[in-house]
């Protein structure tokens, strides 16, 4: 059937719809630059969604665990061999995503008789200054969105993963207003939690369509935090050791939220 170009386009469109449906239940993840590094945050601890890739690179993902795992392994493998044969300084998130992950994911997506990757990935690489932090989102079809294409005075110090386009856009709209890259960790944890809540409230058919009132967000945040618990990790900007990735403990997160 897909000998004809039109059928191929149709098959791809069907596949896109199928994947979007599969991903629609994914809980949001927020990654925010702050003064001393980058924070990854999501709620729920049913399974781990935030991972260490290399010294200065972290990853958050929603999708099928099997696919996430394969992509995570590939990313770690590529970064580790590069870091071994050259140096840790030569491991670059930009190259990892553009030259390795994206083509493979695009290929899998367009081979309509094979299985696509049911995953949406969010990477962050910590820089010496907040303005040099890099955020990069790779979609199941290999599409890449980044915060740092070209030189821009309004470079965003955050990135999000949402279940749907609308959820992600609402989270971004909120963070654009509320988040400053110079904030401290505690403040940033609060902001990230609220952004998560917005992404969560926007899920599903009857989800919110525009930004909720601050009180409604705060209420949702507190309820969900109490119910699910937080998974959070940071990439530290100034650390004596090469490895900047660190999971945040429950106490560190808890003290910021109860403040």
């Amino acid at each position: 059937m897909i000998e004809e170009p039109y059928r191929w386009v149709e098959a791809i469109a069907n596949r896109r719809e199928y994947i979007e449906t599969q991903l629609a239940a994914g809980r949001p993840i927020a990654a925010l630059s702050y003064r001393d590094g980058i924070l990854f945050l999501t709620l729920g601890r049913v399974r781990q969604k935030i991972f260490e890739i290399y010294d200065r690179i972290g990853m958050g993902a929603i999708g099928h665990p099997g696919d996430i795992e394969r992509l995570r392994m590939a990313a770690i493998e590529l970064a580790s061999t590069e870091g071994f044969t050259r140096s840790a300084a030569d491991v670059s998130l930009r190259r990892l995503a553009h030259y390795s992950l994206s083509p493979v994911m695009k290929n899998a997506f367009e081979q309509v008789y094979g299985a696509p990757f049911l995953a949406r990935l969010l990477f962050a690489e910590v820089g010496p200054k907040p303005e040099e932090d890099l955020f990069l989102r790779v979609e199941y079809d290999g599409a890449i969105a980044t915060n740092s294409a070209g030189v821009s005075p309004t470079r965003l110090g955050f990135a999000v993963l949402g279940a749907t386009k609308q959820a992600a856009e609402l989270m971004e709209a909120f963070l654009e207003k509320q988040h400053t890259a110079g904030a401290d960790l505690e403040k940033t944890i609060e902001t990230a939690l609220d952004a998560w809540s917005i992404g969560h409230m926007a899920m599903g058919e009857d989800g919110v369509k525009k930004l909720p009132e601050p009180t409604a967000i705060a209420k949702h945040s507190q309820e969900q935090f109490a119910e699910r618990g937080v998974e959070a990790a940071i990439l530290e900007r100034a650390s004596k050791t090469a490895i900047r990735y660190r999971d945040l403990s429950d106490e560190e997160v808890g003290s910021a939220i109860k403040r």
């Binding site: 890739i53 392994m73 770690i76 061999t81 071994f84």
Partner: protein
């Protein structure tokens, strides 16, 4: 009828260790097979250095001189032979630097690769075994007389079980690992050092494990100075050039490198 189950080898990540990954990608040399029927009788062990390690009150102390030699020539007097592998582990090397540093690099990346892919820290036994395996894989080069490495591995086990705490191992060139209770030494200057450490531990003011940090540094400096006295390939302390041995300590809190000023100060007071 056979039900052959073929596994997709593309997701090999869960079981593959880092050296295997490197070999698959052609990034790590494979040592030639050892042909036992043609024994290499001209094999000369060249481990020109002195490395020592012992447990003391605050963990494990590892010290090494700084001299690198080639035959009778001193090629470098600031060599770093006490290498940090991760936050709790030290590998100190005697042997061929090119092989030893490469081995340390592989080991460092192996531990990190394991943690990142398996989402848990490698156990102390796993780490000790990983170095053993690297040595075994290198043995073909050793038999050719071009890549002998005889390391010491010191780490701290915080798993909370009995027997946890400071752990110290030495290896032979084939990869056999030996855990020691008190001290270990390797390199051409090690016979003298071993004598001193045995003496200190048995008849000294107090056993090595009861020493404080400064007392331990004193013992290490004196031992290296003694080794350098008779062994030409051991640098000891270069008093005029102000080059001091490298001393690192592994404890519950992690790994610390003693600053040169501190070593110089202890040296002036207790050794010189």
């Amino acid at each position: 009828m056979s039900l052959a189950v073929t596994f997709d080898q593309n997701f090999s990540g869960a079981s593959e260790d880092f050296p295997t990954l490197l070999r698959r990608k052609g990034l790590l040399q494979r040592a030639p097979e050892v042909n036992s029927s043609v024994g290499n009788s001209s094999f000369v062990s060249t481990e020109s250095t002195t490395i020592l390690a012992f447990k003391f009150g605050g963990g494990v102390l590892v010290a090494g001189d700084r001299r690198a030699t080639s035959g009778n020539t001193v090629v470098y007097d600031r060599a770093d032979k006490v290498l940090e592998i991760d936050r709790h582990s030290i590998m100190a090397i005697a042997g061929v630097p090119a092989t030893a540093w490469e081995m340390a690099r592989v080991l460092e990346h192996s531990f990190q690769y394991f943690r990142r892919t398996q989402l848990q820290e490698m156990s102390v036994d796993g780490k000790v075994r990983a170095l053993s395996k690297l040595l075994r894989d290198n043995f073909g080069f050793v038999m050719q007389g071009i890549g002998v490495v005889v390391p010491i591995f010191a780490t701290y086990d915080s798993n909370g079980e009995p027997g946890a705490g400071a752990r110290l191992y030495f290896y032979d060139a084939m990869g056999a690992q030996f855990e020691v209770t008190d001290y270990a030494a390797t390199g051409s200057g090690s016979p003298a050092v071993r004598g001193i450490l045995y003496y200190e531990n048995t008849w000294g003011a107090k056993p090595l494990q009861k020493l404080g940090e400064e007392e331990a540094v004193t013992v290490a400096l004196r031992a290296l100075d003694t080794a350098a006295e008779s062994d030409t390939s051991t640098g000891g302390v270069d008093r005029s050039g102000k080059i001091f041995p490298l001393i690192k300590i592994v404890s519950h809190e992690g790994l610390t490198t003693l600053p040169e000023e501190k070593i110089a100060e202890v040296f002036k007071r207790t050794v010189a």
